[in-house]
């Protein structure tokens, strides 16, 4: 897998039938192999050439090293997108001396040949896996080096402080003041600020990259399944007037304004003796536990029941939205004496969402998402699953609640949990250094150990220093031909 002295070949387009399909060959021998395969072997660099292979007419393009995806000589052959044709072309390349590429091997070669750093290599994986345009854009930005650049900028800032501190230690007799203690703390503070700015995007970035789970909760018959169906745009959940129809969990992947959401419909909550249904209720509770967001559905055509009250309490610690369904019917929720509970519970929700803690891969960051603009979680959102009224508002509210209210149109540099965890680590070290420098009593050498530790994290991030295990893990995630 780590060999780069042979040439590799694979189908680069998705499996299945397509308008066209691309076969990619990379390696020092790529040109020679293409020469054997193609009817017109002389290819001009970076020019699409119309020619033939044994089984099809194709367009071949030659990307000479090092200005190719892998940093090696690359030949791309576009043929008609039949799997049979493409496989035959691959076979022809193998016959001519190429080897079938292993998963991720093209990107691995790009990394080994230094045309991409670790962040970019990971981003290729993300880009390929992207399910929403937003995911694709974030991945593309990283591929483009946006994150790398930002880390390098921060690192350069940090490096400046480090050098000046080191200089004052190694050249004490020079009569220079390389850096004053107060300035040290200020400079470190600035670096922390830059890291924070990056981390502030992390929650949003993670949502975009990894999506979120939205669980629909509520007592039976308030219209959960109906809401689910509207959100999912399908009739997957069985909707009946008989309470307790949905006994299991139903999930659907939905793209809401660019966010990849897994929406989960649950069994309604009611004291039940039915075994199957009880199991369903248990699962519903479980699902709520892992939810990024809970949609608590109430039936606004009826007064609040004790079960509603119970659920309002149970979900109060969650990030949640209260959905008042059946707004096409006369509202009786408002006139109910228990409305106050809704408002109160809502207020609590609002508070918990504003100061969210993002927990990633065991590292808990204390990132405060910036204040939520235009989001008022305390107010129930009126919808009608029957008419579709209010669902635009609901979608907006869902996105807002999940992303901390920031526009998804803004660029996000960071989305990968590995990156976030390393940044959080770096931040800890920086803060510790800043505290020490601020107090003024701790000698520079101690401040420096923390600063060096932070710098090592940046190195880990960009991949200038990483263990082979991390690498293996990253490259194993790829599928063939990318």
């Amino acid at each position: 897998m780590f060999a780069t002295d042979d040439s590799i070949v694979a189908i680069a387009t998705p499996p299945g039938r397509g308008g066209i399909g691309v076969v990619r060959i990379s390696g020092a021998g790529a040109r020679g192999i293409a020469g054997v395969m193609l009817a017109r072997p002389a290819l001009e660099p970076r020019r699409a050439t119309y020619t033939r292979v044994r089984v099809d007419e194709v367009v071949a393009t030659y990307f000479p090293a090092p200005h190719s995806y892998t940093g090696e000589d690359v030949i791309e052959i576009s043929a008609h997108g039949s799997p049979v044709v493409l496989r035959a072309i691959v076979q022809q390349a193998i016959d001519a001396g190429a080897r079938l590429a292993e998963p991720g091997e093209f990107t691995l070669r790009a990394f080994l040949n230094g045309t991409r750093d670790l962040i970019q290599a990971e981003a290729v994986g993300d880009l390929i896996a992207a399910a929403t345009p937003l995911q694709a854009r974030v991945a593309f930005d990283q591929l483009d080096g946006t994150l790398t650049r930002r880390i390098r900028d921060i690192d350069a800032e940090l490096f400046e402080v480090i050098t000046r501190l080191e200089a004052s230690l190694d050249f004490p007799d020079e009569g220079y003041h390389f850096i004053e203690p107060a300035e040290t703390a200020r400079c470190i503070g600035a670096v922390v600020g830059s890291v924070d700015a990056l981390l502030a995007e992390a929650r949003r970035g993670r949502m975009i990259r990894e999506g979120a789970t939205v669980v629909i909760a509520g007592r039976t018959n308030v219209g959960k399944s109906s809401v689910f169906n509207v959100l999912a745009g399908s009739d997957r959940a069985i909707v009946t007037p008989v309470p307790g129809t949905t006994r299991d969990l139903l999930t659907e992947q939905v793209d809401v304004d660019g966010l990849a959401l897994t929406v989960v419909d649950t069994a309604g909550w009611r004291a039940t003796t039915d075994l199957v249904e009880r199991e369903g209720v248990a699962r519903a509770n479980q699902a709520r536990g892992v939810a990024d967001l809970v949609l608590l559905v109430l039936d606004q055509s009826e007064p609040l029941t004790p079960e509603d009250g119970q659920l309002l309490q149970d979900t109060a610690s969650h990030t949640r939205l209260i959905v008042a369904n059946k707004c096409d019917l006369p509202g009786r929720l408002k006139s109910a004496p228990t409305t106050g509970t809704v408002m109160e519970a809502g207020a609590v929700v609002g508070a918990t969402s504003v100061v969210g803690t993002t927990s990633v891969a065991g590292a808990t960051s204390v990132v405060r998402t910036t204040s939520v603009v235009g989001a008022d979680f305390s107010r129930p959102i009126s919808v009608s699953a029957k008419t579709g009224a209010g669902f635009d508002d609901l979608r907006r509210a869902i996105v807002c609640a999940l992303t901390g209210g920031e526009s998804l149109k803004d660029s996000v540099a960071i989305s990968n949990t590995r990156h976030v965890a390393l940044l959080v680590d770096a931040r800890e070290s920086l803060l510790s250094a800043q505290r020490a420098a601020d107090a003024g009593a701790t000698p520079e050498e101690f401040v420096l150990t923390d600063l060096q530790a932070a710098r090592a994290r940046f190195d880990d991030l960009v991949g200038t220093r990483t263990s082979e295990d991390v690498l293996r893990h990253i490259f194993e995630r790829f599928c063939i031909g990318k």
């Binding site: 230690l169 000698p443 050498e445």
Partner: protein, 619 residues
């Protein structure tokens, strides 16, 4: 014609440590020098130590070497640099009486029954079947040996520049080594050319120091009130016996340098060798840092009753008359007269990537290089290498395992590792910032870190070992006292000083008076910065596994798939001994290191058999 286990060429700072160590380990040693008058000579500043260099001396001493004891016995003014900073960057520095220092070392060598002086000029290195067999002197004498340590400093094809004058010389007044240079080069070692320089020396009598101090031209520089010795073996605190003086360059100095730049071999292209960036010549200071209005100059006596005054910070290679004018342009030196002008010297060095961590060459068994020949500069760097080479030469002869120190164990380890993995593009000097685990590598714990290793290697005698054992026990007792008493808890608070607690009798510790309060400081810092120290220890442990993963001697880098041709070439040349070393080779990408790591545990599928290395021609 005589036979030795080990022959050392050169009795500079590297040579004497190498000879002494090998002799103490029971080898018969021939110490070859052109003259017994230049043993352990200081051709440049009359001082030992300084930031990071002071650490090296403490480590040399902890391992049983000479340098620490020599400077304690003959130093004239002692200072602990960075005293206002943390304990890890405290570095001792001392002005030496250069004659007494050399005499002390020569006597120490004379007392070693295993060392024989070979006075004369070494000419050719004798090799058979890739192994050292002996040394041929220029006068035709031959001496057999199993190991040869070359420590010839700046002498290989040395060329001195003073203005337009050029003359071949190893250093002032001493002939260069050409035949030896040719002999070494004939084995195909990669060599390069470096340059260093030294300032003019002034007549002490021509300077009115007190008058200049009164006039405000000089500021007096005194030693520490409580001098800290270099050696763990020194029981009597050294005394300060001299003053030095600080002054600053003037606008006139700048003008003279600028006006005469074309006459400086550094600036008119005559000097090809690369000089140390951290020790710039006056020409460089003025031209490269035009914004800096003035530069510091120190006047340092070269001995108690020597005439020479060393003008620290004023090294240059301008013509003699210009140097004279420059000296007199300094405030307070208007009447000064010059004994000797400063000069620059160019010399050949061998790329230390040719060496293993034992400082033995990869090409020839039994051949070792140590000191400035390896591209370093400085007495301390040279001495440290001499010690490592001496120990390893003795061990190699007996087929014993190499003696190497890791980067988290000693600055000496860092020095050797940097040299053999990275090579030199400019003269190499030690800095504390080269240490990844600086907090652990302190001057106060150098003995705790290294004396047990020195003992194991056989360099620490019984007397010294007993003393060390007592010191370690005392130290541990003191630590326990601090751990278990209220005073220890109190000490954690900022602003509470251990010295005060001791003085007020709130706490009693068992302290060594001659340590110059270093022990107090150590104990205090261990308490105050316990968190940092623990963290650093953990960090070092975590890295150690990866760092020390061994690469077999015969590992075929060429057969690791995925390594670029340049990487293979670099790896095969440097022959890193661990994965950690591989990662530090310049130009090695993290990807290449990762790939190497993967294939360290896997059998390599033979591709094409690697071309056999051409065996070196033997002389």
């Amino acid at each position: 014609m005589s036979r030795f286990d080990v022959i050392v060429i050169g009795a500079g700072h590297a040579g004497v440590e190498a000879a002494y160590a090998a002799a103490r380990l029971g080898c018969s040693v021939g110490l070859c020098t052109m003259s017994r008058d230049t043993v352990a000579h200081m051709p440049c500043n009359p001082a030992i130590g300084g930031t990071a260099k002071g650490h090296l001396v403490r480590e040399i001493d902890a391992l049983g070497g000479l340098m620490g004891r020599a400077i304690d016995a003959t130093g004239l003014q002692f200072k602990l640099l960075n005293r206002s900073r943390g304990p890890a960057v405290w570095s001792p520095r001392a002005q030496a009486d250069k004659r007494l220092y050399a005499a002390w070392v020569r006597e120490a060598i004379d007392r070693e029954p295993n060392i024989t002086w070979l006075v004369g000029k070494a000419g050719r290195v004798l090799v058979e079947h890739g192994r050292i067999t002996g040394l041929a002197m220029e006068d035709g004498d031959r001496h057999d040996c199993a190991a040869l340590i070359v420590t010839t400093g700046t002498f290989l094809n040395g060329l001195i520049h003073i203005g337009d004058e050029q003359h071949p010389a190893g250093r002032h007044g001493e002939p260069p080594s050409r035949e030896l240079a040719d002999s070494i080069k004939s084995f195909g070692f990669e060599t390069g050319r470096l340059k260093t320089g030294t300032p003019p020396r002034l007549h002490r009598e021509s300077i009115d120091f007190d008058g200049a101090v009164r006039a405000g031209a000089f500021a007096e520089e005194c030693g520490d009130a409580v001098p800290v010795p270099f050696s763990f073996d020194t029981t009597e605190a050294p005394r300060n016996q001299i003053r030095c003086w600080l002054l600053h360059t003037t606008d006139r100095v700048r003008e003279i340098v600028r006006a005469n730049l074309a006459r400086s071999p550094l600036y008119n292209g005559r000097i090809q060798g690369i000089g140390p960036r951290y020790c710039p010549s006056l020409e460089d200071k003025i031209m490269r840092f035009p914004d800096r209005e003035r530069h510091q100059i120190y006047l340092e006596p070269e001995g108690l009753d020597v005439d020479e005054i060393y003008v620290n910070g004023f090294s240059m290679s301008l013509p003699r008359a210009v140097q004279e004018a420059l000296v007199r342009a300094l405030p307070g030196l208007e009447q000064a007269s010059m004994i000797r002008p400063g000069y620059a010297v160019e010399y050949d060095f061998v790329q230390p990537t040719e060496l293993k961590s034992t400082l033995q060459t990869q090409r020839i068994d039994g051949l070792f290089f140590a000191g400035q020949i390896n591209g370093t500069s400085g007495y301390e760097e040279a001495a440290a290498q001499g010690l490592v080479a001496g120990i390893n030469a003795a061990r190699a002869i007996r087929d014993e395992a190499p003696f190497t120190l890791a980067r988290d164990e000693a600055y000496i380890g860092i020095l050797v590792d940097d040299l053999v993995t990275r090579g030199c593009l400019e003269p190499y000097r030690m800095f504390t910032s080269r240490a990844e685990h600086r907090l652990l590598l302190r001057i106060d714990n150098a003995d705790l870190r290294l004396t047990p290793l020195g003992r194991e290697a056989g360099l620490v005698d019984d007397r010294r070992w007993t003393r060390f054992a007592a010191r370690r026990a005392r130290h541990e007792r003191n630590q326990r006292t601090l751990d278990t008493t209220r005073a220890g808890v109190l000490l954690r608070r900022p602003g509470i000083r251990l010295r005060d607690l001791l003085d007020r009798g709130e706490l009693a510790l068992d302290l060594e008076p001659s340590s110059g309060d270093l022990e107090v400081a150590t104990l205090e810092n261990d308490v105050k910065y316990a968190g940092y120290l623990k963290q650093e220890t953990l960090r070092a442990q975590r890295l150690r596994k990866q760092e020390r993963r061994r690469i077999p001697d015969d590992f075929a880098f060429a057969r690791v798939p995925g390594l670029s041709r340049e990487a293979v070439q670099r790896l095969s040349q440097v022959r890193p001994e661990t994965l950690g070393q591989a990662s530090r080779i310049p130009g090695m990408t993290p990807a290449a290191v990762a790939v190497l790591g993967v294939f360290l545990d896997r059998p390599l599928t033979p591709l094409t058999p690697p071309a056999p290395l051409t065996p070196p021609a033997s002389n």
